[in-house]
């Protein structure tokens, strides 16, 4: 029976769809698409074009009668040292967080994918940070990072000086990155676990016969097999690194000395605190372009099958 169904599915889906089309009539597909279409139009497509439009206006004189100034906002951004600070912070975020989030969860997934005691408990505990609200996580870390807090106690134990985790411009961004990594590990581990199931068992058996040990086995079989997943995790974590906001808002508000200001926090500050709508929109367009490049890579290189028409 199942081969019959497969047979029809593979040879004539289009034929089936066309027969259905005759039966349903012309308007049915549009009726089904309409509700989602309205929401996407109002809250995605219109704002998308409006963002681009706003970026050509100057709101600094009047919020009701903006002046059309062409690309002045973009030129201003390029002359603003804060912009470069923000971009450097974003690059630090990508360079530090992405490799760790691509490699460490894979290592954990391999460890947890064995038949040993307590696996479910380990999974629950490691996944817990993913579930908990980022605001609570950020508050918890802010408490760990306090000047006389527990982390500085450990520093003292190791005969190291106390660190201003969130107050020293040298360290603040890394302290925030630690929160992002801590909250992402469980999530990416589960993605790796799912694709580990697709590695053919025979390959491992062949390796064992050849006398490979645990790590050799995984280096020669698992890593090459999971290359597409590693690439996927890298792009997903890059995109989410560029969208970081809550950690910054709760812990540092972009400070000290802009050392933790990210693109999204900068947009938020310009738009909702300085009410410089044009400048904020130009910055948003820059974010759009960067995220689009990563997303296109993701969709057309790594997840092709899922979005095939």
């Amino acid at each position: 029976m199942s081969f019959l169904i497969n047979n029809i599915d593979q040879t004539s889906p289009k034929w089936h769809n066309q027969c259905m089309f005759k039966y349903y009539g012309k308007f049915a597909p549009y009726m089904f698409l309409l509700p989602a279409g309205i929401v996407l139009l109002i809250f995605f497509f219109i704002p998308f074009f409006q963002t681009i439009g706003l970026s050509f206006f100057d709101y600094s004189n009047s919020i009701y009668n903006p002046d059309f100034t062409g690309i002045k906002n973009y030129i201003e951004i390029l002359h603003n040292p804060v912009f470069y600070k923000v971009m450097i912070n974003t690059i630090i975020y990508l360079v530090v967080a992405v490799p760790i989030l691509a490699i460490f969860p894979l290592f954990l997934a391999v460890l947890i994918n064995q038949k040993i005691r307590g696996i479910t408990l380990y999974k629950i505990l490691i996944y817990l940070p993913v579930i908990v609200s980022i605001v609570v996580a950020a508050i918890a870390f802010k408490w760990l990072y306090a000047q006389d807090g527990i982390l500085n106690y450990f520093m003292q134990l190791m005969h190291l000086p106390k660190i201003g985790w969130l107050t020293d411009p040298k360290y603040a961004i890394y302290s925030v990155i630690i929160v992002t990594i801590w909250k992402g590990i469980g999530y990416y581990m589960m993605i790796y676990l799912a694709s580990l199931m697709s590695v053919p068992k025979e390959l491992y058996e062949a390796c064992e016969i050849d006398g490979a040990n645990f790590w050799q086995k995984h280096l020669t079989v698992t890593v090459p097999h999971l290359m597409p997943t590693i690439a996927l995790v890298s792009t997903i974590s890059s995109i989410s690194a560029m969208k970081i906001f809550a950690e910054i808002y709760v812990m540092t508000k972009g400070g000290p000395l802009d050392s933790t200001k990210t693109i999204v926090y900068y947009i938020y500050e310009k738009a909702f605190e300085n009410l410089d709508l044009g400048y904020a929109s130009a910055m948003a367009v820059i974010l759009l372009i960067i995220v689009m490049i990563f997303s296109l890579l993701n969709i057309f290189v790594f997840e092709r099958g899922k979005y095939k028409i």
């Binding site: 029809i8 039966y23 760990l144 801590w182 799912a194």
Partner: protein, 280 residues
Amino acid sequence: MKFNLKNIPTHIVLIAVSLLSIFPFIWLLSTSLKGAGENIFAYPPTIIPQDFTWANYSGVWQRVDLMKYFINSMIVAGATVVLNLILSSLAAYPLARMEFKGKKITFFAILATIMIPFQAIMLPVYLITLKLHLVDSVNDTMGFIGLVMPFAVSAFGIFLMRQAFLAIPREMEEAAIVDGCNVFQVFWKVLLPMVKPSLAVLAIFTFIGSWGEFLWPSIVLTKEAMYTLPVGVNNLQGMFSSNWRFIAAGSIISTIPIIIFFLAMQKYFISGENEGAVKG
């Protein structure tokens, strides 16, 4: 599953990572249970409270309407889930099963929304929400609608449901039509019950996402009575500026509901079979 000496290094690593995962919460919990008689900055720090008390919990509970925040979060997350289930499966059905003019364009338009991060368009979304009077300064209902609508449907949900519809044998539809169903009956009575597992996955992940959402509510909300849990908890920092005992107690209370939800639904998160639920 028998105990094996060979596995000890694995257990040591996994125990260490598990402890690191929960340690920030443990320390927060410990702080929230320490009374005024105990220095919370004491060196060496103590995990087990010496001056154990529930007073911080009752103190926060009396001063802050956490129950109200919880109810607001439930309303927002509940409505977001229901709308996502309905709108995503409605839109997914023709994309999976019908031929119509403009199908390719529709498909790519939805795909394009994956590439548009909300953070980049939030300003116009806010301006539109204001224009449509979907803010809490009009009234509470409008405020809730404004909190929910930008997240009422997602490309992620539409593609997830489309995958589910694609997997249903076409004979099901044909048989239903022979039996005299119209297109909405086919959808509602035959196809929808068959994609329940995907609906469950979509519901759970949408719920978690909506429950933790912080950026949008902190932009649109003006009234404290409308605060959702993340906004309310962040606000604790301002209210009790240096009273870490209260901030800790409030944070712990706000986390209990989602942990219960997680433990009840854990198989959806950690079974490793929800590959389709990877949210970009």
